[in-house]
Every structure is written in C-alpha cells, then in structure tokens.
C-alpha cells in the first residue's frame, strides 16, 4: 500500500482538468508528404484520465497521428487544441515541455547510456539549476541531481528494472528496452503519454507485464494515455475508447464494443468480398 502512495506523488502537476474533460482535441487534421496523403480530415479527442487506443491496418497513418500530436510533423490543415489552447507549429521539445511524452515504434533509446541515465534524461525539463552551477557541479546543481535521482529510482522500482540500473541499454533484450523507454517517458511526469506499439515483438508474458504497467500508470498516476497497438486482445482489454484509421481516414470511433461491431472496421481488417 505504501508503495502506491509514493507513486501517486510522482505525478505532481495539476493541469486544472477534471477526469473526463477534453485534454486533446484534433479537428479536421490533414497531413500530406508531397502527393501522399498520410492523414485526411481526421477529428477526434482524448479525454483526461482515459486510455485511448489508435488502431488500424499497416500504413493507416497511426504513427503519423502520434507524430502530429507531439510536434514531429506539422499538419497542413486542421486545429489541434491541447488543454484548451490551440497550438500552431509546435516543436517536439515544446510539446514535451507542455506535458506530452512518448515512446517509439522502434525503440529510440540512448544506447550507449545506462538505464539510469536514460531515465534521468527524461527529467531534463524538470531540472533547471543554471548553467554555471552545472559546469561546476556543486551546490544547488548537485542537490537537484540527487532529488531527481530519487524520483527516477521510484520509476525504476515501479517498472521492476532495478537489476539493469547500470547496464548500457544497447545490451538489453528488446522487451526490457521497451520498458526502459516507458520509464524515460514516465520520468517526464507527462499529462499525456503517447505509446507507439508498446507491445510489438513481445511474448505473452511480456505483453501481460506491459499491460499491467500501462493500467497502473493510468490509474495510479492519473496519466492520460494514447496508444497504438496491433494486438486486438490487448486493445479491447485495456482501452476505454478506440479510434480506427484506414488509409489516413477515420472509419470508427467509440468503445471497444462499438468498434468491434462496426461494419467498416470489420471490412478494413478482414477485407470485403467483391
């Protein structure tokens, strides 16, 4: 029980939203690369406190969607509103500063650095003692480093990766790398966490572990989560609402049950007989 209380503290920011309020809203967003339309005219929203899944066949535009949300891509059309504020051409590090963290489809960790340093890098934005102290590494900068190390240790405990604390992440098996990447995103104490195929390439046991972590992050830290996942069993089990994309268009949106019975979705996944 004690451990749980500690984890609640991890998420200290209060963004003034109540559970169920709209956190992120996309309206008529379109994105194209040259002549290729990656996303056409998509609108949906993410509510505070929910787990929102984005699904769809390969090439449906799911990852492009996440890239739009965290500022890697800038849509040609449409409005993105995050916590009530419309944003324009936001840079990824600005998105990070406003409370959006993410993981990547192909794990993007700092391979030469240890698990600990990788997760510490997620605290970059929370640390702000000035350059001068940092160069000397004394006084305030040092205390700050220790304070953040404590937070990071909590995350390491939470994700059960104590044993690989000092291992360079390049050496870790894939499943653990995914877990470290989740840890780095959690270290940012995000309001919105974007997970791009968090369970890709995992075996059943690893998937179950990851599902448990995602549910715990959501319930204990109150983090809103948007995730892309191909394993339909997992998606139906853990998500509150699902949005379905196909060829860059939205073809379904609703609870897992709604989506499962949606004819367009069934056609997209199973094909239509002509």
């Amino acid at each position: 029980m004690n451990a749980r209380v500690k984890h609640v503290e991890l998420h200290a920011d209060d963004d003034g939203l109540n559970p169920g309020d709209v956190m992120l809203k996309l309206e008529n967003v379109s994105l194209s690369f040259g002549g290729v339309k990656a996303i056409s005219d998509i609108s949906f929203d993410i509510l505070k406190g929910e787990i929102r899944a984005i699904i769809g066949p390969n090439g449906a535009g799911k990852t492009s969607m996440l890239n739009v949300i965290n500022g890697f891509y800038h849509p040609q059309q449409g409005v993105i509103t995050f916590r009530g504020q419309a944003r324009s051409r936001m840079q990824p590090y600005e998105a990070a500063a406003s409370g959006i963290a993410r993981t990547f489809q192909n794990v993007a960790l700092f391979k030469g650095m240890s698990t600990l340093d990788n997760i510490m890098s997620g605290r970059t934005l929370k640390m702000n003692k000035n350059f001068f102290w940092q160069v000397l590494n004394i006084g305030p900068a040092r205390n700050e480093e220790i304070e953040h190390r404590l937070k990071v240790e909590e995350i390491i405990d939470f994700l059960e990766i104590q044993h690989i604390r000092k291992t360079p992440v390049g050496k870790l098996p894939y499943g653990l790398q995914k877990r470290v990447e989740l840890g780095r995103a959690l270290a940012m104490e995000p309001d919105l966490l974007l997970l791009d195929e968090p369970m890709a390439g995992m075996n059943l046991e690893e998937k179950e572990d990851m599902s448990r972590f995602i549910l715990d992050v959501n319930s204990q830290m109150g983090t809103t989560i948007a995730l892309i996942e191909h394993d339909m069993g997992v998606v139906m089990d853990i998500s509150d609402r699902v949005v379905v994309l196909d060829y860059g268009r939205k073809i379904g949106d609703g609870t897992p049950q709604d989506v499962k019975n949606n004819q367009d979705v069934i056609d997209a996944y199973l094909g239509v007989s002509h």
Binding site: G112, T124, Q134, P168, M188
Partner: protein, 319 residues
Amino acid sequence: MDILYAILVDPFVQMVELPDFFLQVLWEGFVAGVLYALIALGFVLIYKASGVFNFAQGIMVVFAGLTLVGLHEKGVPAYLALILTIGVMGLLALAVERFVMRPLVNQPDIILLMSTIGLTYFLVGFGEFVFGGEPKQMITTELGLPTGSTAFEIGDGGLLILQHIDIAAAVIAIIMVAVLAVFFNKTRIGRALRAVADDHQAALSVGISLNQIWAIVWFAAGIVALTTGIMWGARSDVSFALEIIAFKALPVLILGGFTSIPGAIVGGLIIGVGEKIGEIYWGPLVGGGIESWLAYMIALIFLLFRPQGLFGERIIERV
C-alpha cells in the same frame, strides 16, 4: 645483431647516460601532447554531442587566434580583445547552429562532415579577408602569460629547462579538462549532450532542444579552440599553417576514443611523448623524420586491436 642492439639496447643506454637530456625530451613531448590533447578535446566535444567529426576544428583554432591578435592590433586592449574574441566564438557557434546544423537535422553523418569541410573553407576565406594572410605574433605578455623559463639541475651538471608558458599551458589544459569531464558526466546538460549524440528524435521527445545543445557545444569547442590558439600561437605564431595541426588530432582521437574527454588527454600525451622519444632515440636509425608519421602508425596498430580507442564508449551491436 648490430641492428637488434641499435633498436633494443642502445636507445635505453643513451637515456640512462644523459638523464637530463632524456627528461628534457620527455617534457617537450609532454607539452606537445598537452596541445594535441587540447585540439582533440575540441573534436571530442562536438563529436559527443552531435556525432559529427568537425573538420573545421583546426581552422577554428586559427580563427580564434587571429581574431584575438587582430583586435589587439586595431588598438583594443588585450583583455577586452580576449572577451570580444569569446563573444565572436559565441556568435560563430550560433551561426553554425542556425545556418549549418539546423537545416541538416537527421541527415547522415557524412553530410554533416561535408558541411564542416565547407565551414573550414568559409573560415579560411573569411579570416584572410578580415585579418590578412600574414602570420601574426601572439600577444603573450599583454595577456599576462608568463614568458620566462626555469632551469633545474639534474644529476651532475645536467640542466632541465622548463618554459613558463608551457607550464601554464599544462595547468590550463588540466583545469579545462577536469571541468569538461565533470560537466559531461554529472550534469543535466551533459546528459542532454550525450542523448543528442545518440538519437536526435528521442532527445527531442524528452524535451531537449537540439538548437540550444548544438549552440552550447559549438561554443564550448570555440573556447577550447581559442585556448589552443593562444597556447600554440605563443610557441610559434598565429598563421593558417596551424590548421594542419588539426590532423595531429586524428591519431590522438583514434588512440583515446572519439567520445572520451580523458581519452583525448591520455591519447594526446601518448602521441606527444611517443613522437618526441621516437624521433630522438630511434629516428637516427632510419635517417630521422619519423616524428611526422609515427603517430599515425601508433593509431593504425590501435585500430587493429581496439577500434573504440582506450576510453571510447563500447560499440554495442545487437543482431
């Protein structure tokens, strides 16, 4: 047998017979090593933070030295000129970030390398345009750097002469290295620098601003270049020929590892001392002149057995 004696025994006999001369050679090698290390340090800084081999580091040394001396020639007091030069290196860092690095985010390393070669030619042209092509005298005394020398007596009647400027160079280099090493390994910005070197996208996603990091690191490399320019300029003079010493940094980097600050230092010292001792004691066997290629030989042998260098980050590859 004579050959073996000349290679394996005679040089050591000479070393023992004339210890003061041997120490003098060691010292000269040490000082040269410190300067190599300073140049290598500039490379390591930028390589660590962006994975770019900065071809322009050598010309940055010249450019910084020329700016300092040039400003002083125009009547600016020495210390003010120093501060202004630091400012100029800051501006250069900002310009490089804005006009070279930023448009090339996520491009392959070879493209970035090419862009630093372009930068080299730009700085050569720009430097000659502003300050002219003639060698200049470094303003050593005006900057308050010591100029004299101290002689120590070694054994019976032998003399070891230490130039004060060399001692100063060593001390400054040591301080600089210590600060940089701690900065890189123990602080948030240092970790951000390493993160950027590893993966641009991931670094952006945790809120690291590439632009800021690159400006910082190019500025740091500029400061290192300025220090190198002053120290090297004080021993010879400030001219575009100095650019060549940048290539001496290559074997140092291979030896020490491209990503390691302590590596740059140890590598620099090994190359500096090795070169001098090799030249004096083994050089005569092949008619001298081995100083210019010995470093590259040592580096080649190292590449065979330890491609990541003495202290480089281990190369991790999961297949």
